[in-house]
C-alpha cells in the first residue's frame, strides 16, 4: 500500500504542475518525406492546428522522428513551457515510444503526449484525394488536440520479472532457445508434446546446403538438453493454461505418464517381447513399432515408453505383462498417473513448429492410391540410415531400387487449392534429395518438375548448379496428371514443358511429392492459450515484421522456428537464439514498467455490485463483500477497459483512455459536417493494426472515416456510440479482434453483447440499424478494413438528413446515462 501512496503523491505533484498554466499544446505535423506531404498539404494542416484552442505553437517538419525533429520538440517544451505535445505523423504503434521518450527528456510526463495518425490512416490510403486527405488530417489533428487538452500525467508501475523461462516445443528451435537461456544461467522448462525432443530435424536425413547429417549435428544438442542442470525437460507434456502477464506467467502443464521409470537403461529387452505392432509415426507409418517403444535411437530422454492406446493393459487391468517380465531392472510401472505441474515463469518462447501438407486431396497425383507416389518427408525416412529400410531407397510397391525418380515441386504451396504461400524449404530440399540419390545410386534418372526454383540463401545457388552439373534434369511445368501402370506399378507423368511449349510423357519408377509446410493442426490451441494473433495462413504473427521479428504483441512471449512461418534449420536456429536473447534482456533487467493505462475504481462511487468483476477477463477486480467496494489488482490489470462500460455509477476510470477524453474526440470530429462522417472505434491490437496494414499496403478507401483508438473494443462504451449519434455523426464502426482471438482473452465478447443491445435499442427508437456496424478485423486484414469502410460509405450516402435528425433527438443529452453531460467532456483541466 505504501508504494501506491507514493505513486498517488507523485500523481498529484504532476497534476499540479500542469494545471497551473492550463493546456499549452505544441503540434508537430510531419511530412515524412513525401509519404505524407505527397498526398496532403502538411503546411495547411499545421496552420489550421495553430488556430485550435490551447495550441501555443504548430509546426510542420520534414522528419519529426529524426534527431533534429526530436530536439526541436524538446527545446520547444522548455522554451515555450509546453505541457502537451501532439505529433501528427505515422502510427503510434511505430513511433509513440520515440516521442514519449523525447518528451520525458524535456521534463514532460510521457502520458501528456498524443499522436495523430495521418500516414497509415490518411495519406497512404487516400493517395488520389488530396482535398479529402487534407480535411481528414485536419480533423485527426483536431481530435488529438481535443484529447491532449484533457490528458493527465500518469506514473508507471514496475513489476518484477521471474528469472525463469518456458520453452514450448522441443524441435531444433526449442532446443537452441532452451540451451541459450540455460547457458545464460536461467532455469528453463522445456515442454515437448512428443516422447522425445528433436522435432522434424530428427526425422530428416541430410541438411542443405552443406549435406551435413541431420541427426549427427542435432543429437549432441539433444543430449546436452537432457543433462543440462538448468533445463527441466518435460516430454509427453502439454501446456494446459497460461495466466498472468509479462514477467509473471503462471503456467499449468499436463504431463502424461511414460509407464517406464527413469531407471530405464535403454537396453531394449522389453520391446522384443511386446506382442502389439503399430504403425511407427516417426517413420511416417513406413515401419512398425511395438506398444512399448522408443521413437528413435537417439531419443532424449533415452527411456522407453508405453503407448497406452496400443497396449493391451487398459483401465488398470493387466492383460499382458511380458515387458514387465523381460525388464531386468523392473522399470515398468503401469500405475503411473497423469501429473499436473504448476510453473511460474517470467518469459515464454513459442517454438511449436509445423506440420507437412497432406497431398491426398490432390487426387490427380494419386498419393495414397499409387504406392510409389510418396512425400518428401517419407523419402527422408527411406533414405535415412536409421529409417525403416536402413537407408536403401526402395519402391514401396515391390521393394526394388527405382531406376528413375520424378520430383514434383510446389505440392501444397503457392496454390489457392491448398496453401497460398511459398513454403520456403522445398526447392532446396528437393535439390539436396536429388543429389543424395545421385550419390548412392549414380545411374538413377532424376527429373525435377518445377515452376520456379527459389535458391535464395547462402550456398543455395551453388548446390543448384551442382545438381545441374551432375545431370539432374529440371523441367519447367508441373505434370497435370500421374497415371499408374497396374502391372509394373511404374508411373507416367504427363504435362507440358513450358520452356519448349511441348507436351511430355515421362515414365518413372517413383514419384516424390515435394510437400509444403503448414501450421500445426493444434496451433489454434496454442494461439488460444497464449492469446497470440496469427496471420490469415495460420502462422503466428510477429509484433513487427521487420523490427521485432521474434516478439509477439504480448509482452514476454517470443516466437522461434516454423511456428512463425516456414523456414529452414539455419533460420530456425537464428531465430531461436534471437528469441532467447530477447527473453534474456527482460530477465537480466529483472523488472519491467507496465503502461499506466490500468483501471482505477473510485471507492466513493462504487456500490460493490460486482458487474465489473464479472466481465474482467483476468479476474483483476476483487469485490470486498463487507465494505461493498471493488478494487483493481494493478499488476493483473491489463488496461483493456472492458469493465468500464459495465459500471452504472461512473466509478471506474480507465487511465489515459478516460470517458471524457474519448467524448472530446467525438466532439471534435462532429464539429463540422458530422452527417457525412464515419466514426470508427478500433482496438489497438487487431483492427487498428489492420487499418495500419491497409495503409502500409496502400489499399485505398473513402476519406470520410475518422478512427478513435481504444486498447480493446471492450472499452467502447455504448454511450460513446449514442453520443456520436446525438452529435449527428452518420455512421459508427465498432471493430476488434476476431472472436476467440481477443488480445484480452475474451473481452471482445462484451463488445458483441453491447453492440447487439444497441441495435435492439436503435430498432426500438426507429433508427436505421445499419448506421452502427460491428466488424472483426485482424491485424493482417487490411483489405477487410477497407471493405468495411467502403460498405459504410455506401450506407452513409443513403442516409437522409431526417434520419440524422432523428438520431440526434433519440440520443439527445438528456438520455445520456450517469451525468455524462457534454459540458463535462470539454471541462478545462
Amino acid at each position: 500500500m505504501a508504494k501506491k501512496g507514493k505513486a498517488d503523491r507523485q500523481d498529484k505533484v504532476a497534476r499540479r504542475a500542469t494545471a497551473e498554466n492550463g493546456p499549452r499544446i505544441g503540434v508537430y505535423v510531419c511530412h515524412c518525406g513525401l509519404n505524407i506531404d505527397g498526398s496532403l498539404d502538411c503546411e495547411e494542416v499545421a496552420k489550421y492546428a495553430s488556430s485550435l484552442e490551447g495550441v501555443v505553437l504548430a509546426k510542420d517538419s520534414m522528419y519529426t522522428c529524426s534527431d533534429a525533429g526530436q530536439e526541436q520538440i524538446k527545446s520547444d517544451i522548455r522554451e515555450h513551457n509546453l505541457n502537451r505535445v501532439v505529433v501528427a505523423s505515422c502510427t503510434p504503434r511505430l513511433h509513440e515510444p520515440t516521442f514519449r521518450a523525447a518528451c520525458v527528456e524535456a521534463g514532460l510526463n510521457a502520458y501528456l503526449f498524443e499522436m495523430a495518425n495521418i500516414r497509415e490512416h490518411c495519406s497512404w490510403v487516400h493517395l488520389h484525394d488530396r482535398q479529402g486527405a487534407t480535411e481528414k488530417a485536419k480533423d485527426l489533428v483536431k481530435m488529438s488536440v481535443a484529447r491532449a487538452r484533457l490528458l493527465q500525467p500518469q506514473v508507471e508501475t514496475e513489476v518484477p520479472i521471474t528469472p525463469r523461462a518456458l520453452v514450448v516445443g522441443g524441435g531444433v528451435a526449442g532446443i537452441q532457445a532452451a540451451l541459450d537461456l540455460a547457458d545464460a544461467g536461467y532455469k528453463v522448462y522445456l515442454v515437448e508434446k512428443e516422447a522425445s525432443i528433436g522435432g522434424r530435424m530428427a526425422q530428416i536425413d541430410k541438411t542443405f546446403p552443406t549435406m551435413d547429417c541431420s541427426i549427427c549435428i542435432l543429437a549432441p544438442k539433444m543430449s546436452e538438453v537432457g543433462r543440462h542442470p538448468n533445463i527441466e525437460l518435460m516430454t509427453l507434456s502439454e501446456v494446459e493454461s497460461v495466466d498472468g502477464y509479462i514477467g509473471n506467467f503462471h503456467v499449468r502443464v499436463k504431463k502424461k505418464p511414460r509407464y517406464v521409470t527413469d531407471d530405464c537403461t535403454y537396453c531394449g529387452d522389453c520391446i522384443k517381447d511386446c506382442p502389439q505392432h503399430m504403425p511407427n509415426e516417426f517413420d511416417c507409418g513406413l515401419s512398425t513399432r511395438r506398444a512399448i517403444y522408443s521413437p528413435f535411437a537417439q531419443a532424449v530422454p533415452a527411456t522407453y515408453l508405453i503407448d497406452m492406446d496400443s497396449c493391451m493393459n487398459k483401465h488398470g487391468i493387466v492383460a499382458c505383462d511380458r515387458c514387465y517380465q523381460a525388464c531386468q531392472h523392473k522399470c515398468i510401472d503401469f500405475s503411473q498417473q497423469e501429473e499436473i505441474l504448476d510453473l511460474d515463469v517470467g518469459t515464454i518462447i513459442v517454438c511449436t513448429g509445423s506440420d507437412v501438407y497432406d497431398p491426398t486431396p490432390l487426387t490427380e497425383l494419386g498419393y495414397r492410391r499409387f504406392p510409389n507416389v510418396i512425400t518428401s518427408l517419407e523419402f527422408e525416412r527411406l533414405i535415412n540410415a536409421g529409417g525403416p529400410t536402413g537407408g536403401n531407397l526402395i519402391r514401396p510397391s515391390d521393394k526394388t531400387v527405382p531406376k528413375s525418380v520424378g520430383f514434383l515441386q510446389c505440392i501444397g504451396s503457392r496454390s489457392k487449392r491448398s496453401n497460398p504461400y511459398c513454403s520456403n524449404i522445398c526447392c532446396m530440399n528437393t535439390i539436396k534429395d536429388a543429389l543424395l540419390i545421385r550419390e548412392h545410386w549414380p545411374d538413377t534418372k532424376i527429373y525435377v518438375f518445377y515452376m520456379d526454383i527459389r535458391a535464395f540463401g547462402k550456398g543455395f545457388e551453388d548446390l543448384l548448379m551442382r545438381a545441374r552439373r551432375e545431370g539432374v534434369v529440371f523441367i519447367r511445368g508441373i505434370p497435370g496428371e500421374i497415371l499408374q501402370d497396374d502391372n509394373s506399378y511404374s508411373l507416367k507423368l504427363i504435362g507440358e514443358n513450358t520452356l519448349l511449349s511441348k507436351l511430355y510423357e515421362y515414365e518413372v519408377d517413383m514419384v516424390i511429392l515435394s510437400v509444403g509446410i503448414e501450421p500445426r493442426k493444434d496451433s489454434a490451441v496454442v494461439k488460444r492459450l497464449l492469446s497470440l494473433p496469427s496471420m490469415a495462413d495460420g502462422f503466428f504473427m510477429e509484433a513487427h515484421p521487420k523490427l521485432r521479428p521474434v516478439d509477439t504483441p504480448t509482452g514476454g512471449i517470443f516466437l522461434a522456428g516454423c511456428a512463425e512461418g516456414p523456414k529452414d534449420i539455419k533460420d530456425s536456429v537464428t531465430q531461436a537464439s534471437a528469441a532467447a536473447s530477447r527473453a534474456n534482456i527482460l530477465m537480466a533487467k529483472g523488472k519491467v514498467t507496465v503502461e499506466a493505462i490500468t483501471a482505477r475504481i473510485d471507492p466513493e462511487r462504487c456500490t460493490g455490485c460486482g458487474l465489473c468483476a464479472r466481465v474482467c477477463p483476468y479476474g483483476a477486480i476483487l469485490v470486498d463483500e463487507e465494505t461493498k467496494v471493488a478494487t483493481v489488482v494493478e499488476a493483473a490489470c491489463t488496461g483493456c477497459g472492458a469493465c468500464c462500460p459495465e459500471c452504472n455509477f461512473g466509478a471506474i476510470t480507465m487511465r489515459h483512455f478516460e470517458d471524457h477524453q474519448i467524448l472530446a474526440q467525438i466532439d471534435a470530429l462532429a464539429e463540422s459536417d458530422a452527417g457525412g462522417k464515419i466514426l470508427a472505434f478500433c482496438c489497438n491490437w487487431c483492427s487498428y493494426a489492420g487499418a495500419d496494414f491497409s495503409g502500409v499496403s496502400r489499399i485505398q478507401y473513402p476519406a470520410e472515416v475518422r478512427i478513435v483508438r481504444t486498447m480493446c473494443s471492450g472499452r467502447v462504451d455504448p454511450k460513446f456510440v449514442e453520443y456520436a449519434f446525438a452529435k449527428g455523426i452518420a455512421a459508427v464502426l465498432v471493430s476488434g479482434c476476431h472472436i476467440g482471438d481477443c488480445h484480452y482473452i475474451n473481452a471482445n465478447s462484451q463488445t458483441e453483447k453491447r453492440v447487439q443491445r444497441l441495435w435492439r435499442k436503435m430498432a426500438r427508437l426507429g433508427l436505421n440499424k445499419e448506421r452502427l456496424r460491428l466488424a472483426w478485423i485482424s491485424a493482417a486484414e487490411g483489405m477487410r478494413f477497407s471493405q468495411e469502410i467502403s460498405a459504410l460509405k455506401e450506407i452513409v450516402e443513403k442516409i437522409t438528413p431526417e434520419e440524422i435528425e432523428k438520431g440526434i433527438e433519440a440520443f439527445a443529452p438528456k438520455r445520456l446515462p450517469k451525468g455524462e453531460h457534454p459540458d463535462e467532456a470539454t471541462r478545462p483541466v
Binding site: M451, D452, G477, I478, G480, E496, L503
Partner: protein, 151 residues
C-alpha cells in the same frame, strides 16, 4: 453470354504458368499445338487479336478439367469459351465449325443423319430418331442470333 470483357481478367494475372492446365488437357494431347496455358499467356501479352484469329482455339471441348486442377482457381475453360464467342462475333469461325453450325440452321442437327444411322439404330434395338421440331429450334436460333453470326 460469356464474353472476354465480362470475364474477371484480374484473376488471369495470377497465373504463374505451372502448365497444369495443358498437362491435364485431353484436347492438347489430341491436337498438336493446342495449348490452354499458351492461349492465356498470349491473350495477356499480345492481346485478344492474336488469340481469336488462331483456329486452334476451337479445339477446347469445355471439359473443365483444367479448371478443376488449376492451383490458382482460374476459370480457364470459361476464358476459352468467352474467347470463342468473341472470335465468332468478329467472324473468325473455322470452316468445319461453320459447316456444322449451318447444318444446325438447316436441319436442327449438328451432323447429317443418313439412312445408315437409322439402320444401325434399328439393329441396336433403338427407336428411330424423332423429327426435329424445327419451329422451336428456329425460334431459339433467332433469339441467340446464330443465323446472323453465321451470315
Amino acid at each position: 453470354m460469356k464474353r472476354p470483357g465480362l470475364f474477371n481478367e484480374e484473376l488471369l494475372y495470377e497465373c504463374y504458368q505451372c502448365a497444369r492446365c495443358t498437362g491435364s488437357c485431353p484436347a492438347a494431347f489430341a491436337v498438336d499445338g493446342f495449348n490452354p496455358r499458351n492461349i492465356l499467356l498470349t491473350y495477356l501479352r499480345l492481346g485478344i487479336e492474336a488469340v481469336i484469329t488462331d483456329e486452334k482455339l476451337w479445339c477446347c471441348t469445355t471439359c473443365h478439367v483444367c479448371e478443376d486442377r488449376c492451383p490458382q482457381l482460374i476459370d480457364v475453360a470459361d476464358l476459352l469459351c468467352s474467347l470463342m464467342n468473341e472470335a465468332a462475333m468478329q467472324g473468325h469461325i473455322p470452316e468445319k465449325v461453320r459447316a456444322s453450325a449451318e447444318m444446325i440452321l438447316r436441319t436442327g442437327r449438328a451432323l447429317l443423319v443418313s439412312r445408315r444411322v437409322d439402320s444401325i439404330r434399328e439393329k441396336l434395338g433403338l427407336k428411330p430418331l424423332p423429327e426435329v421440331p424445327m419451329e422451336e429450334v428456329e425460334g431459339i436460333l433467332d433469339q441467340t442470333g446464330m443465323a446472323v453470326l453465321i451470315g
